[in-house]
Subunit: 345 residues, 2 copies
Amino acid sequence: MKTWRVLLLGFGTVGQGVAERLRDGATELAAGGLDARIVGVIDPALGSIASAEGLDPGQLLDLANRSGSLRDYPGATLAGSGADAIEAIDADVVFEMTPTNLVDGGPGLQHVRTALGLGRHVATTNKGPVALAWSELAELARANDVQLRCEGTVMSGTPLLNVCDGGLAGAGVYGVRGILNGTCNFVLSRMEAGVDYDEALAEAQELGYAETDPSGDVEGWDAAAKVAILGNLVLGGALTLSDVSREGIVGIGKGDVRSAARQGTRLRLVGSVRAVDGTVVEPKVGVEELSLDDPLAAVCGPANLLTFETEALGPVSIAGPGAGRAATGHALIADLLTIHRQVGS
Amino acid sequence: MKTWRVLLLGFGTVGQGVAERLRDGATELAAGGLDARIVGVIDPALGSIASAEGLDPGQLLDLANRSGSLRDYPGATLAGSGADAIEAIDADVVFEMTPTNLVDGGPGLQHVRTALGLGRHVATTNKGPVALAWSELAELARANDVQLRCEGTVMSGTPLLNVCDGGLAGAGVYGVRGILNGTCNFVLSRMEAGVDYDEALAEAQELGYAETDPSGDVEGWDAAAKVAILGNLVLGGALTLSDVSREGIVGIGKGDVRSAARQGTRLRLVGSVRAVDGTVVEPKVGVEELSLDDPLAAVCGPANLLTFETEALGPVSIAGPGAGRAATGHALIADLLTIHRQVGS
């Protein structure tokens, strides 16, 4: 059994989700032939440590939650940050889990570039690098004979991108269409129940679905990044975020929602992209008025659903969580398992 | 690129679906590193032929549809049937696509036994062998170091079993629950629209959803076989069909459907099975009264949907076709791709 040496970039919600999955699912992973060892954690708030012998996920979680610092981990060496640390810590795969920056990719983009350039496989939950610089990064991965995977960028760990490499391979996927932003769907669902836009958005923030600055969600940026990612990863495109036609839910009022209901329809923020003769066309996010028998119309609250249009199977829909600690942590484990299978043990 | 020599057992709807996928998706499959060559076709009606150089899928389809016989395929040798033919034709993988027999497994069970015993990988759409003799066959596959895969036995080619090996691996799946029989769901849906049971069943037969003898569907046998398969393949059980508690839709009247509707619920034939502490428990099929916000209640007509209960992701639902020529044909291609990935090229 090959031991995969994993470097964690970020030990917030997602990084801790990974540690929990490794702690709780170790037996199941070992049964699948996978042995993963955390050889380093780099976090701006909790500190950065490394150990070639491996860091115990349970102990990392304890330290993070009890002392708010990883620096006291017995026997670990202190590590630096950024590119230097990625270079210094000898890992097979880097989990890039820093926050998404959709303007210029932020530190995450540099992390991914550095890691791929060093010949490390990368799994990321960060939408920035994949939505903004996919072509460059995919080429860099090819040139260094490593994989760049990003299951966690769309619907957290719900199996989508790994299904396209797996059970849907050969089915002729030619389009995707989905409810890709839980905050917007929650707000639209609440407005259907008679709540005002502002009130619904405040509820979403209270429940932790929306950020303090919700513009990334309600202006459609988050869903547009996911459309770019799906167009690239599922349909073989070379999109960047600016290629995606984008409309959010800002400006939608209770009147619009009520008028849709009167006509037996529902408003949903839908992201979609298609391929025609091998060319990726019409990447877009917008509010659509859906008939009630459309599976996307049935998605209520913060749920997410993606439909693949396929030649062999017709539409295949997958519904699952769009966020969450364990769910997003699973995404990285799933990506590592795919790398393990594809690269060989 | 490894060439996989494939023997087709059966060249009816499913076998022809495979040939169509190989003909139409050859480029896509080759891009995934897969080269499949049909080295034999065994069919009781169309005749049995073999060719080590490979049989062209398009030409096989033409012959089957134009002359009703494969025997005129230029350059092919005539082959026998059953175990002798499986032994005589040198193949890497056998696609077992004969009709399901849930009483004793029928010829399909013998085919699978023979093929595994000869060290051939097997992919099957035949529920009989897997629902009746999984433990024996899985052991036989292990002993001969080959794979036995059966994506097409549940929801045709909709990615389910291959997702458990793929994107859901490590997610801690502990239960499955779904609408697994399109005929029953169609009949219940039509009864909601005010149609009588007998009339709805006749419609299902006219539309090709139900067999002339619909007892396998309406008495719950088909769904029960799928529950046994899911319990074995997804949860690691050792179930046979007789372990599944089974109830069909026979005896459900318009009054029952109407009374459910008055209470804001819907009747659905639900199959489910769970694992508790590693033990598979409560495999069952029965009519359940579901609240309208249950995703299974939203499944109407001949559609199918399966929900995986997972530790990491909560519920993940996959909806897709439950039948169809191209869809079931894809199941075997998907299984071959999984074998290709797991066994190596």
